[in-house]
Every structure is written in C-alpha cells, then in structure tokens.
Symmetry: C2
Subunit: 348 residues, 2 copies
C-alpha cells in the first residue's frame, strides 16, 4: 500500500499517496496544496478530500530541498531573561506564527563574542533569515558578522550610522523621544538638572536615550552632568548609584531601565534619602513589577512587542515583497507614578 508504518508507528503519507487516492497525478496534488489557480474545482475538492482522509501533511524537508524557501527564521539575542529582549521575542514569535513561520532562538553569550564560524553554525543553513535583537554589544557584534547573503533585520536601540550595520533593515523604538519625555518631566518638577545612569552602550555612538536626555537638558538650559555607566540588572544599578546618591546635589536620576531603577532606589534608601521628597527616580520599559515597587516607579512604557512584530514584518517583506507592511509600534508613553516628585530647592 505504499504507506508502511515507519519506526515511530505513524504511517508516512506522501503526495503520491494522496494522488492515488484522488485519482490524479502527484503534481496536481502539489498544485492544490500550494493554492495554484489552474486546478478545476471538482478536482481540487477531490484532492482536498483525499488529503483529509489520509491525514496528509507536507514534508518540510522535502519542500525545502526541492528549492522552496523554508518558512523559518532564527532570532539571535543575548539574554532572554531581560524584559526588553523577552518581550521583543514574544512579538516576533506572535507575528511569525500568524504568518506560519517557525521561530528558532539562539542565545548569545553576554561576554564571549562569537566569531563568524560559530555564527554560521548557529544558523543551520546558509541563507536562513535572521532577526537580531541588538540592544547590546553582543547583538551588534553578531549583526556585523552575519554573512552578507543572509536576510537580516535588527531590533536596535537606534539606527546606526556606521557600516555595515546600517546597510540592513532595522527597527527601533523612539528612545530619544522617550528619554526626552522623562527628562522634561523631571525638569518640570523643579529639578535643577537630571542625572543619567546609562545602560552599557551597544556601539561607539552616543546612545539615543543619552541623546534624548541631553536634548531635554539643553532645551531647558540645565547643567549637563557626566553620564554614569551602569549595567542591565538591579545589582549593577545599585552598585553604580551608591556614589551618586551620596551626593545631595543629585536630586533626580533617570535610569537606563526599570531594573536598574529598582537598584538605584535601594541604594538611595540605604543612603538615607527619601523618594520622591528627597530624590526622584525614573526608569524605562514599564516592567510588570514597576507599578508595585515602593514607591511605584515612574517610567516610560516601551512597546517591545510591537517592535518584535515590526521586525518580523520587515523580514517578511525582505523575503517576499508582497507581504503586508508591518503595523507601527506604539509611541513611548511616560507613566508617572510615585517615584518622581517636585523639587523645591535645597533650602526647603
């Protein structure tokens, strides 16, 4: 009968089995499953019935081998446990699944940068489409090393002017605007200036958040304190902030993300400073716990899932120009909570 049970017990049914069942040629079956138009309705229905009856499922490997593009992509990211990366991944997966693409994940080491060979090995086949979540240095580095023949889209902190990164499609959130929002909010509360505790920069360029912060400072004619470099985690925020919060002239701190802000708030408490009366703290991302911290964190909500969906959309269009244009992401939104408050001057 041609459909002998294989080792796992499941009978493997091929298009030729379906063809025999429907009384047509295997090619006609191929046309039906690919939605080709030149098939008579009656024939199409017969084939579809046979497919249902036999429980036929096309074999991806065979299809790919025969030259059809595989509907799959690989996401290269450096740390899936960080909120931004995890949410972006979710967005990619969601959009990809809707377009019936399979999503593979490959996690980059935060410290050991892979070389070209390793990167190629992670990609399974040459030409495998890739989305790089390049918020940090390992991601940007990987983006740089990706072979020229791979279709690549990057989620970046900001569009880079430096080659060859800029030659590939990119998506980003308006971090500059987000930072400016938050900074203006703090200045509007009466703070003389705002200190900025930055995330590790992904490139040599000035980060967009830093830029937005400077934009707002300059627009207000406020002093520009030096940027403090931190990390991604609460711990690094805590460590970096201990010095900062000991300085009573620092009255408002903008943090690279909400996790860092949590660390900063702790350092502030330990230094005997009271938030927000005595010190204002704001973050970025609006992680789920932000609203429940003590005090609840003022932050800028960033649409990472939308960013992920956009990345997939861009990649899809790269592979198939007929694919629909991706929906735009939400604009960054300042969420004012309890961790920022008015400043009435040192004398108060």
């Amino acid at each position: 009968m041609g459909t002998a049970p294989d080792a796992s017990g499941a009978p493997t049914v091929t298009i030729r089995d379906v063809a025999r069942e429907a009384g047509v040629s295997h090619q006609t079956v191929s046309r039906v499953i690919n939605g080709h138009s030149a098939v008579a309705d009656a024939t199409r229905h017969r084939v579809e019935a046979a497919i249902d009856l036999l429980g036929f499922r096309p074999n991806h490997a065979a299809r790919e081998l025969a030259g059809k593009a595989a509907r799959s992509l690989t996401v290269l990211t450096s740390d899936t446990s960080l909120y931004g990366a995890a949410s972006t991944l979710r967005g990619i997966e969601e959009a990809a699944r809707a377009a019936s693409f399979a999503v593979a994940v490959s996690v980059l080491d935060r410290h050991a940068h892979p070389d070209r060979a390793e990167l190629r090995a992670r990609l399974a086949r040459p030409g495998e489409p890739v989305v790089v979540i390049a918020f940090d240095a390992p991601g940007v580095h990987a983006l740089r090393l990706l072979p020229a023949d791979t279709p690549v889209v990057a989620a970046v902190e900001h569009p880079s002017g430096s080659e060859p990164v800029s030659s590939r499609p990119q998506a980003w959130l308006d971090d500059r605007l987000a930072a400016a929002h938050a900074t203006r909010h703090l200045l509007g509360l009466g703070h003389r200036t705002v200190h900025y505790l930055a995330l590790p920069s992904s490139t040599a360029d000035v980060a967009q958040r830093t830029q937005g912060w400077l934009d707002a400072l300059r627009a207000a004619g406020a002093p520009e304190p030096p940027v403090v470099e931190g990390g991604w985690t609460p711990r690094t925020g805590y460590l970096a902030a201990r010095e900062l919060v000991a300085d009573r002239s620092v009255t408002a701190v903008l943090c690279g993300n909400d996790d860092v802000a949590a660390g900063v708030m702790r350092a502030a408490r330990e230094a005997g400073r009271h938030i927000p009366d005595d010190l204002s703290v704001a973050g970025f991302d609006d992680v789920p716990v932000a609203a429940f911290l003590a005090p609840a964190l003022t932050t800028v909500r960033l649409d990472f899932e939308g960013l992920g969906r956009t990345c997939f959309g861009l990649l899809h269009r790269l592979l198939d120009p007929a694919a629909p244009a991706p929906d735009p992401c939400d604009e960054p939104a300042l969420i004012v909570r309890e961790s920022t408050g008015p400043w009435h001057g040192a004398g108060e």
Copy 2:
C-alpha cells in the same frame, strides 16, 4: 563546474563537489562528515581538506529527507516573559546548543487552548521532539494533546499521577520541599500560622507548593488557613492580597512567586501594615529584582536553568539512549532577606 551561484549569490557546494575535489566517491565524503570509522586516515584528511577548501556545509533538509533524524526540538511554553519559563527556556537552549540541536519556540496563548490540529501545525513535522514548559494550565493541556508519536519531555510543577501526562518523561524542581522550607522559616520566626497565596493551579491535583506548605503547617500543628487563589503577576497578587492583609490576624503570607509577593507587599503597605514588623512576606523564584525590593524579599531560589538543562538531557536520551545523563538541578535554597521577621504575638 556544478556549483553555479544560486540566486543569493552563494555557490552551493554539495557532497559530490567535495568528492570530486578529493578524488573520492560521494559516499566516502558522507562517511567522513558522519565520523564513520571505516575510512583510511589519508583519505579522511584529503576529504577534510576539500571540505575546508570548498567551504562545504551539509544541507539539513537533504539529510533529514534521507532519513537522518533532524537535530532540532520545539519548546512549547505559555509565557516567555515570566521568569520561570524564560529561565527554563534559557537552560534548554544552552544545553541544546551544546549538543548542536536547534531550538524552536512556540508560545501558547494563556487563555485560548489550542486543539490537536493547531498543535500539530506548530510542530512543523510529525515526530518533531518537544519540550513542554507545563507550569500552567495551557502547558499541561498541550502536553495532553500532543500526538503519541512525538518524543516529549515536560517541565512540570510536579509529577502528575494522571494519565496520559504521567506516561511521558518529566522533570521538576522540588517545589514541595521549597514550600516547606519557607513555611518552616516563617513558623520558626514565631508566626502562629502562614497564609498561602497560590499560583493558578496547572492541574486538578493539589499543587506541590501547597502540599509543602501544608506539610510544614501540620508538622508544627499550626492552623491551616484556606488557600487564596491568585495569578502570576504583581497585579494579581496585589488584588488578591487586599482582603488578606486587611485581616490583622494574618501575620505571614507565602506567595506563589516573587512577582506576586511584590504585589502583596504593596497591598500591605496601603493597608498600613509594616513589613516585616507587622507582616512577613515570602516568595518563590528569587528573581533578580527580589533583593532590591523594599524591603528585600525573602524567597526560595529555584534552579530553573538547571531544570531546562535537565529537560533537554532527558529528551536527548529519549532520542539517543547513548546520550549522557543530565546533571541534577540545584536544590531549592531559602534566601532570607528583609521581608520576613519575628512575630512576638498580637500583644506586642
């Protein structure tokens, strides 16, 4: 020359090109790339040189089509932004990459349970190996619906006695012990009893954390308050706890995870209760921000990455009995911080 550049510009080099270059047959090349023993050293070296020279990379699709098992697996999980699931995924990916398996991710909707057909569609090919992160109902549901012929390993909250879930290999952390640890700690501080704010249960059975909590309560002869059902997020913890913390006889609350605990702590503050003097709160997981909350959260650290590695190891052995046994996970470890404190009775 047989290696005409394809559309993307990359010349496709096959096993036969390598064979020609090395002056051997294509089968010998196949033997070399599969590490087959019956190849003379001189021949092997010649072939390897040809592979390097030509930059040959085996074609996965062809290999799979020809009957070789694909080194890939799919992770089915319901929410990659939750710490436990994200960390488990990381562990799986890490171990899988070390064994050169590709990892695909498919995210289950928290509310809409997929049917068999949808699940099959997510799996690309019949027989695709799967790891299900089944900490919650959608995961357990998916586990139940997976076709019998797919190799499946599940990361579960606890081993289930109910068929057919139990017939598949499973890995779990010792949640019962973890809960007992935390409960004993609280009872040891002088609390008359401990209230438990549970996660949504994944099955009809009594959850292991609930069980461990009851174990400790019973061993101490403490009263057994009813379990309060909550969710996974800070918000659900906050909402569920508002009633609980209004009751002054509640002096210690164990929360299903750290996120929930953060919500509970907020509800407690709003109710005018002071942690830990007035109310003790503990969680599970030890998320990165736990140590930086106000107050720093007492919690039980769980080795989710180890769990993920174990899951992969189990799956690997399922596919290839010669694969090495996975390393054991770390035991749950109680991390005492500031959110739990002694209770001296209502009179104090």
